[in-house]
Amino acid sequence: MKISIQKRILDANDQAAAANAAFFARRNILCLNMISSPGSGKTTLLSRTIEGLKDRVRIGVIEGDLKTDLDAQRIRRTGAPAIQIETSGACHLTALQVSAAVKELPTDSLDIIVIENVGNLVCPSAFELGESARVVVLSTAEGDDKPAKYPGTFAKANVVLINKIDLLGHVDFDVAKVQRDARGLNPNVKIFAVSARTGEGLTDWYDYLVSLRGPRG
Protein backbone atom coordinates (compact mmCIF):
# COMPACT_ATOMS: atom_id res chain seq x y z
CA MET A 1 0.00 0.00 0.00
CA LYS A 2 1.35 3.38 -1.01
CA ILE A 3 0.11 6.56 0.60
CA SER A 4 0.69 10.11 -0.55
CA ILE A 5 2.33 12.33 2.10
CA GLN A 6 3.44 15.58 0.35
CA LYS A 7 5.21 16.88 3.46
CA ARG A 8 7.64 19.74 3.03
CA ILE A 9 10.70 18.68 4.95
CA LEU A 10 11.98 22.21 5.55
CA ASP A 11 8.49 23.46 6.31
CA ALA A 12 9.32 24.72 9.79
CA ASN A 13 12.13 26.84 8.39
CA ASP A 14 10.06 28.02 5.42
CA GLN A 15 7.21 29.12 7.70
CA ALA A 16 9.58 31.00 9.98
CA ALA A 17 11.19 32.60 6.90
CA ALA A 18 7.77 33.73 5.65
CA ALA A 19 7.02 35.22 9.07
CA ASN A 20 10.36 37.04 9.04
CA ALA A 21 9.69 38.38 5.54
CA ALA A 22 6.27 39.65 6.63
CA PHE A 23 7.82 41.31 9.69
CA PHE A 24 10.45 43.09 7.56
CA ALA A 25 7.81 44.18 5.03
CA ARG A 26 5.58 45.67 7.77
CA ARG A 27 8.50 47.71 9.06
CA ASN A 28 9.77 48.63 5.61
CA ILE A 29 13.14 47.04 6.37
CA LEU A 30 15.33 45.70 3.59
CA CYS A 31 16.85 42.41 4.72
CA LEU A 32 19.93 40.99 3.00
CA ASN A 33 21.28 37.47 3.42
CA MET A 34 25.03 37.66 2.87
CA ILE A 35 26.69 34.37 1.89
CA SER A 36 30.31 33.54 1.15
CA SER A 37 33.24 31.29 1.95
CA PRO A 38 35.12 32.01 5.17
CA GLY A 39 37.68 34.77 4.67
CA SER A 40 36.05 36.52 1.71
CA GLY A 41 35.93 39.77 3.66
CA LYS A 42 32.21 39.90 4.50
CA THR A 43 32.65 41.58 7.86
CA THR A 44 35.17 44.14 6.58
CA LEU A 45 32.88 44.89 3.66
CA LEU A 46 29.94 45.25 5.97
CA SER A 47 31.81 47.53 8.40
CA ARG A 48 32.91 49.73 5.52
CA THR A 49 29.37 49.79 4.08
CA ILE A 50 27.89 50.83 7.43
CA GLU A 51 30.41 53.65 7.74
CA GLY A 52 29.99 54.71 4.11
CA LEU A 53 26.21 54.87 4.39
CA LYS A 54 25.87 56.19 7.95
CA ASP A 55 24.29 59.47 6.76
CA ARG A 56 21.89 57.78 4.35
CA VAL A 57 20.58 54.56 5.93
CA ARG A 58 20.62 52.89 9.35
CA ILE A 59 21.94 49.34 9.23
CA GLY A 60 21.69 46.57 11.82
CA VAL A 61 23.51 43.26 11.56
CA ILE A 62 22.93 39.65 12.55
CA GLU A 63 26.17 37.69 12.60
CA GLY A 64 26.40 33.92 12.22
CA ASP A 65 29.49 32.00 13.23
CA LEU A 66 30.26 28.62 14.71
CA LYS A 67 32.00 30.21 17.69
CA THR A 68 32.84 33.62 19.19
CA ASP A 69 31.22 37.03 18.85
CA LEU A 70 34.29 38.56 17.22
CA ASP A 71 32.38 39.69 14.14
CA ALA A 72 29.57 41.28 16.15
CA GLN A 73 32.19 43.17 18.16
CA ARG A 74 33.75 44.47 14.94
CA ILE A 75 30.36 45.64 13.66
CA ARG A 76 29.49 47.34 16.98
CA ARG A 77 32.70 49.36 16.72
CA THR A 78 31.12 51.12 13.72
CA GLY A 79 28.25 52.20 15.97
CA ALA A 80 25.74 49.86 14.35
CA PRO A 81 23.76 47.36 16.44
CA ALA A 82 24.84 43.75 15.94
CA ILE A 83 23.59 40.46 17.34
CA GLN A 84 25.79 37.38 17.26
CA ILE A 85 24.37 33.91 16.70
CA GLU A 86 26.80 31.14 17.65
CA THR A 87 25.70 28.01 15.82
CA SER A 88 28.00 25.66 17.79
CA GLY A 89 28.96 23.69 14.72
CA ALA A 90 25.95 24.16 12.45
CA CYS A 91 27.03 25.26 8.98
CA HIS A 92 24.19 27.70 8.25
CA LEU A 93 21.67 29.95 9.95
CA THR A 94 18.00 29.06 10.15
CA ALA A 95 14.97 31.32 9.94
CA LEU A 96 14.07 30.58 13.55
CA GLN A 97 17.50 31.71 14.74
CA VAL A 98 17.07 34.90 12.74
CA SER A 99 13.60 35.61 14.13
CA ALA A 100 14.97 35.29 17.68
CA ALA A 101 17.93 37.57 16.89
CA VAL A 102 15.76 40.21 15.19
CA LYS A 103 13.87 40.69 18.48
CA GLU A 104 17.09 41.95 20.02
CA LEU A 105 17.68 44.56 17.32
CA PRO A 106 16.19 48.08 17.53
CA THR A 107 14.09 47.48 14.41
CA ASP A 108 12.11 50.74 14.83
CA SER A 109 15.25 52.66 13.99
CA LEU A 110 16.64 50.50 11.18
CA ASP A 111 16.32 50.72 7.40
CA ILE A 112 18.39 47.66 6.52
CA ILE A 113 19.22 44.42 8.33
CA VAL A 114 22.13 42.42 6.98
CA ILE A 115 22.39 38.77 7.99
CA GLU A 116 25.99 37.68 7.67
CA ASN A 117 25.56 33.94 7.29
CA VAL A 118 28.07 31.33 8.43
CA GLY A 119 31.06 31.19 6.07
CA ASN A 120 30.06 28.43 3.65
CA LEU A 121 29.10 28.49 -0.03
CA VAL A 122 26.88 25.40 0.10
CA CYS A 123 24.43 25.00 2.97
CA PRO A 124 23.24 28.58 3.55
CA SER A 125 21.80 28.65 0.03
CA ALA A 126 19.24 25.97 0.96
CA PHE A 127 17.72 27.87 3.88
CA GLU A 128 15.47 30.87 3.30
CA LEU A 129 15.71 33.35 6.15
CA GLY A 130 13.03 35.82 5.06
CA GLU A 131 15.47 38.02 3.17
CA SER A 132 14.57 40.45 0.42
CA ALA A 133 17.78 39.72 -1.45
CA ARG A 134 20.78 37.41 -1.37
CA VAL A 135 24.26 38.83 -1.65
CA VAL A 136 27.09 36.44 -2.46
CA VAL A 137 30.58 37.72 -1.71
CA LEU A 138 33.47 36.20 -3.65
CA SER A 139 37.02 37.37 -3.07
CA THR A 140 39.68 37.35 -5.75
CA ALA A 141 41.93 35.19 -3.57
CA GLU A 142 39.42 32.32 -3.80
CA GLY A 143 39.72 31.91 -7.57
CA ASP A 144 37.38 32.70 -10.45
CA ASP A 145 35.88 29.21 -10.74
CA LYS A 146 33.39 29.56 -7.90
CA PRO A 147 30.22 30.30 -9.93
CA ALA A 148 30.92 27.17 -11.99
CA LYS A 149 31.65 25.08 -8.88
CA TYR A 150 28.75 26.36 -6.76
CA PRO A 151 26.02 27.01 -9.35
CA GLY A 152 23.11 26.65 -6.94
CA THR A 153 24.43 29.40 -4.71
CA PHE A 154 25.22 31.82 -7.55
CA ALA A 155 22.01 31.10 -9.47
CA LYS A 156 19.98 32.19 -6.42
CA ALA A 157 22.03 35.35 -5.80
CA ASN A 158 20.52 38.77 -6.47
CA VAL A 159 23.90 40.44 -6.03
CA VAL A 160 27.49 39.21 -6.37
CA LEU A 161 30.19 41.32 -4.76
CA ILE A 162 33.66 40.53 -6.09
CA ASN A 163 35.82 41.65 -3.18
CA LYS A 164 39.56 42.22 -2.74
CA ILE A 165 40.06 43.61 -6.26
CA ASP A 166 43.12 45.38 -4.82
CA LEU A 167 44.75 41.93 -5.06
CA LEU A 168 44.24 41.67 -8.83
CA GLY A 169 47.67 41.35 -10.37
CA HIS A 170 48.83 39.20 -7.46
CA VAL A 171 46.30 36.41 -7.94
CA ASP A 172 45.00 34.52 -10.97
CA PHE A 173 41.49 35.87 -11.13
CA ASP A 174 39.54 36.89 -14.22
CA VAL A 175 36.77 39.33 -13.26
CA ALA A 176 35.17 39.09 -16.71
CA LYS A 177 34.98 35.28 -16.41
CA VAL A 178 33.16 35.52 -13.08
CA GLN A 179 30.76 38.10 -14.52
CA ARG A 180 30.14 35.88 -17.54
CA ASP A 181 29.66 32.70 -15.50
CA ALA A 182 27.44 34.33 -12.87
CA ARG A 183 25.24 35.98 -15.53
CA GLY A 184 25.10 32.67 -17.39
CA LEU A 185 23.54 31.14 -14.29
CA ASN A 186 21.32 34.11 -13.56
CA PRO A 187 21.05 36.95 -16.09
CA ASN A 188 19.41 39.27 -13.56
CA VAL A 189 22.25 39.21 -11.03
CA LYS A 190 23.88 42.57 -10.17
CA ILE A 191 27.65 42.37 -9.96
CA PHE A 192 29.96 44.85 -8.27
CA ALA A 193 33.76 44.60 -8.19
CA VAL A 194 34.98 46.21 -4.98
CA SER A 195 37.77 46.44 -2.48
CA ALA A 196 36.65 46.77 1.12
CA ARG A 197 40.26 47.59 1.96
CA THR A 198 40.84 50.49 -0.45
CA GLY A 199 37.22 51.51 -1.04
CA GLU A 200 37.44 51.03 -4.81
CA GLY A 201 34.06 50.35 -6.41
CA LEU A 202 32.11 50.79 -3.19
CA THR A 203 30.23 53.93 -4.26
CA ASP A 204 28.25 51.98 -6.86
CA TRP A 205 27.45 49.30 -4.28
CA TYR A 206 26.30 51.93 -1.77
CA ASP A 207 24.07 53.65 -4.32
CA TYR A 208 22.57 50.35 -5.38
CA LEU A 209 21.87 49.38 -1.76
CA VAL A 210 20.15 52.70 -1.08
CA SER A 211 18.07 52.33 -4.26
CA LEU A 212 17.10 48.81 -3.22
CA ARG A 213 15.99 50.07 0.19
CA GLY A 214 13.93 52.91 -1.27
CA PRO A 215 13.05 56.07 0.61
CA ARG A 216 13.18 56.11 4.39
CA GLY A 217 9.88 55.43 6.06
Binding site: I3, S4, K7, I9, H92, A126, P187
Partner: protein, 114 residues
Protein backbone atom coordinates in the same frame (compact mmCIF):
# COMPACT_ATOMS: atom_id res chain seq x y z
CA UNK B 1 23.41 21.01 3.50
CA UNK B 2 22.76 19.29 6.79
CA UNK B 3 21.62 15.97 5.35
CA UNK B 4 21.22 14.42 8.80
CA UNK B 5 18.63 17.07 9.65
CA UNK B 6 16.66 16.25 6.50
CA UNK B 7 17.04 12.49 7.09
CA UNK B 8 15.85 12.89 10.69
CA UNK B 9 12.66 14.69 9.62
CA UNK B 10 11.98 12.12 6.89
CA UNK B 11 12.56 9.28 9.34
CA UNK B 12 10.32 10.79 12.02
CA UNK B 13 7.55 11.42 9.48
CA UNK B 14 7.72 7.84 8.21
CA UNK B 15 7.65 6.45 11.76
CA UNK B 16 4.62 8.59 12.62
CA UNK B 17 2.75 7.49 9.48
CA UNK B 18 3.65 3.83 10.09
CA UNK B 19 2.27 4.13 13.61
CA UNK B 20 -0.98 5.54 12.26
CA UNK B 21 -1.58 2.73 9.75
CA UNK B 22 0.08 0.00 11.88
CA UNK B 23 2.12 -1.24 8.90
CA UNK B 24 5.82 -1.69 8.14
CA UNK B 25 7.28 0.87 5.71
CA UNK B 26 9.28 -0.56 2.80
CA UNK B 27 9.92 2.44 0.55
CA UNK B 28 9.52 6.20 0.34
CA UNK B 29 10.05 8.93 -2.27
CA UNK B 30 11.66 12.26 -1.54
CA UNK B 31 11.94 15.00 -4.16
CA UNK B 32 13.89 18.24 -4.29
CA UNK B 33 15.08 20.82 -6.79
CA UNK B 34 18.22 19.83 -8.62
CA UNK B 35 20.04 22.95 -7.40
CA UNK B 36 19.14 22.18 -3.79
CA UNK B 37 22.20 21.58 -1.63
CA UNK B 38 21.11 18.08 -0.62
CA UNK B 39 23.76 15.46 -1.31
CA UNK B 40 21.88 12.29 -2.18
CA UNK B 41 24.58 9.87 -1.01
CA UNK B 42 25.03 11.61 2.34
CA UNK B 43 21.27 11.75 2.82
CA UNK B 44 20.84 8.03 2.09
CA UNK B 45 23.67 7.11 4.45
CA UNK B 46 22.18 9.24 7.23
CA UNK B 47 18.73 7.79 6.62
CA UNK B 48 20.01 4.20 6.63
CA UNK B 49 21.81 4.73 9.91
CA UNK B 50 18.68 6.21 11.51
CA UNK B 51 16.65 3.20 10.32
CA UNK B 52 19.00 0.65 11.91
CA UNK B 53 17.31 -1.25 14.72
CA UNK B 54 13.85 0.15 13.88
CA UNK B 55 10.91 -1.14 11.80
CA UNK B 56 12.27 1.06 8.97
CA UNK B 57 15.46 -1.02 8.71
CA UNK B 58 16.20 -1.93 5.07
CA UNK B 59 13.55 0.35 3.57
CA UNK B 60 14.33 2.10 0.28
CA UNK B 61 14.43 5.87 0.00
CA UNK B 62 14.30 7.17 -3.55
CA UNK B 63 15.52 10.74 -4.06
CA UNK B 64 14.11 12.45 -7.18
CA UNK B 65 15.84 15.61 -8.41
CA UNK B 66 13.41 17.95 -10.11
CA UNK B 67 14.77 20.49 -12.61
CA UNK B 68 14.34 24.11 -11.63
CA UNK B 69 12.06 25.96 -14.04
CA UNK B 70 12.90 29.18 -15.85
CA UNK B 71 10.58 31.61 -17.59
CA UNK B 72 11.82 33.49 -20.64
CA UNK B 73 11.31 37.25 -20.31
CA UNK B 74 11.21 37.69 -24.10
CA UNK B 75 8.66 35.03 -25.12
CA UNK B 76 7.26 33.86 -21.77
CA UNK B 77 8.15 30.22 -22.43
CA UNK B 78 8.57 28.12 -19.30
CA UNK B 79 11.08 25.29 -19.44
CA UNK B 80 13.55 23.30 -17.35
CA UNK B 81 16.65 25.30 -16.46
CA UNK B 82 19.69 23.68 -18.06
CA UNK B 83 22.81 24.78 -16.27
CA UNK B 84 24.98 23.84 -19.27
CA UNK B 85 22.85 25.88 -21.69
CA UNK B 86 21.09 28.63 -19.73
CA UNK B 87 18.90 30.12 -22.44
CA UNK B 88 15.32 29.89 -23.69
CA UNK B 89 14.68 26.64 -25.54
CA UNK B 90 12.20 28.41 -27.83
CA UNK B 91 13.71 31.79 -28.77
CA UNK B 92 17.27 31.43 -27.46
CA UNK B 93 17.08 34.52 -25.23
CA UNK B 94 19.41 34.65 -22.24
CA UNK B 95 16.99 36.88 -20.31
CA UNK B 96 14.96 34.77 -17.93
CA UNK B 97 13.58 34.55 -14.41
CA UNK B 98 13.68 31.52 -12.15
CA UNK B 99 10.42 30.06 -10.94
CA UNK B 100 10.40 29.06 -7.25
CA UNK B 101 12.62 26.04 -6.62
CA UNK B 102 10.75 22.80 -5.86
CA UNK B 103 10.75 22.19 -2.10
CA UNK B 104 12.35 19.23 -0.33
CA UNK B 105 9.22 17.09 -0.25
CA UNK B 106 8.43 13.66 1.17
CA UNK B 107 6.04 12.54 -1.56
CA UNK B 108 4.86 9.11 -0.55
CA UNK B 109 5.49 6.07 1.62
CA UNK B 110 4.93 2.48 0.60
CA UNK B 111 3.99 -0.04 3.29
CA UNK B 112 4.14 -3.81 3.35
CA UNK B 113 0.59 -5.18 3.11
CA UNK B 114 -0.59 -7.22 6.06
Amino acid sequence: MDELEVAQTVFETICAEAEKVKLVPVAATLSCGDMCAVNTEALLEAFASLCEGTPCRGMRLEVRRIPVQMRCIACNTTADYNIAAPHCVKCGSHEFDFLPEPPVLLEDIEFKDK
